[in-house]
Symmetry: C2
Subunit: 212 residues, 2 copies
């Protein structure tokens, strides 16, 4: 019997997903033909269909990867010693370092999840994971005394997610948008949201003084 082929199969699947991601972020899900994905993956249609039963299965595969990534990120944050620092790290990860291609892909998946129940289910799970992950973080921060107990964590979590989402999309929309510039303000607002106080360390952006 052929052994070790399982690993090879997995590798091949990942290669196909990577090729598909490139195509989709370039031309969108519906603007990309299977032939294009085949070309990008250097593979014939017949062969590709051995790995994925349909085009939709490819998107589902990509969404599944994203879910794994999100879980991974939250695990990393939860383990970090300082809460606000970990948040800052995560914010930088999503808002500055993520490539624009990746963001476009997210737009595509989001639109697709409106009409494909399979994708919608995966997407909903991701959202769910993010929200409960965030709430867990906030709860343990309250327990540790980093956040005062009178804060409504549900609302705070929602606002944080909305804010990060909004900045995330902005990168795809506005080519001039420089994420680095708003990061201090983001941290400052985060601090305000979670404590109701100004933060004296992370000062928000001021207008550049004349002559600067």
């Amino acid at each position: 019997m052929r052994r070790a082929s399982t690993q090879l199969q997995m590798d091949r699947r990942e290669e196909i997903l990577a090729a598909a991601k490139r195509c989709f972020s370039r031309s969108g899900f519906h603007g990309t033909s299977m032939q294009e994905i085949c070309a990008e993956a250097r593979m014939s249609p017949g062969s590709l269909y051995r790995y994925f039963p349909s085009k939709e299965a490819i998107i589902a595969g990509i969404a599944e990867q994203d879910r794994a990534d999100v879980a991974q990120t939250f695990r990393a944050i939860a383990e970090a010693p300082d809460f606000f620092q970990a948040l800052a790290y995560a914010a930088r990860h999503y808002i500055v370092e993520e490539s624009v291609e990746e963001i476009c892909l997210q737009t595509e998946i989001k639109a697709e999840s409106r009409r494909n129940p399979e994708i919608a289910k995966i997407y909903a799970t991701i959202e769910q994971d993010v929200k409960s992950g965030m709430l867990n973080l906030l709860r343990s921060a309250v327990a540790r005394g980093d956040i005062p107990s009178h804060i409504d964590l549900e609302v705070a979590a929602t606002m944080l997610m909305a804010l990060v989402d909004g900045l995330y999309w902005r990168r795809a929309v506005d080519p001039e948008f420089d994420a680095e510039t708003v990061l201090p303000t983001l941290l400052s607002v985060t601090h305000f949201l979670l404590t109701g106080e100004r933060n004296t360390k992370n000062e928000m952006a001021r207008r550049p003084a004349a002559g600067e």
Copy 2:
């Protein structure tokens, strides 16, 4: 020559756009066939094509309408006497009152603008209008003394747009999300962003006390 037909033509165009919007928000741009739009608009393909030369032209028409709406909204805000109150009004308009269908349509247009240059141009113009509209508002608020002059308006505008965008999308993503609940916090954060101070009037959400 036929006169007054111009107005009728315009009406018919709007009817078609309305029908198309219903279809698109239900099944997405690529999931909707021209036949479906025809059925929704009670019209034959041959006839429909007298009003729009292509499917893309229909989307462009919808995007164009959106542009007009945005301009209209900003004109209304600019005329309002109290700045923060006007902002609150606009926030409510976009985050609470806008229908989920409308939001789905926006997702669709956003994804489409990644591959259709015509749509991309209209979309970029809308973003541009929103940003400059917002900046104008903020500048006149500074002039009036409603906002201290040390605030970096560019950053503040970006953050506000991101926040509203994020909440806007959240409604499409999370069916449990209740916009009304976060509105006070949104206003409080807005105030913080624009003044660097806590707002004593719009208190942000606190955790409901036991027994409430």
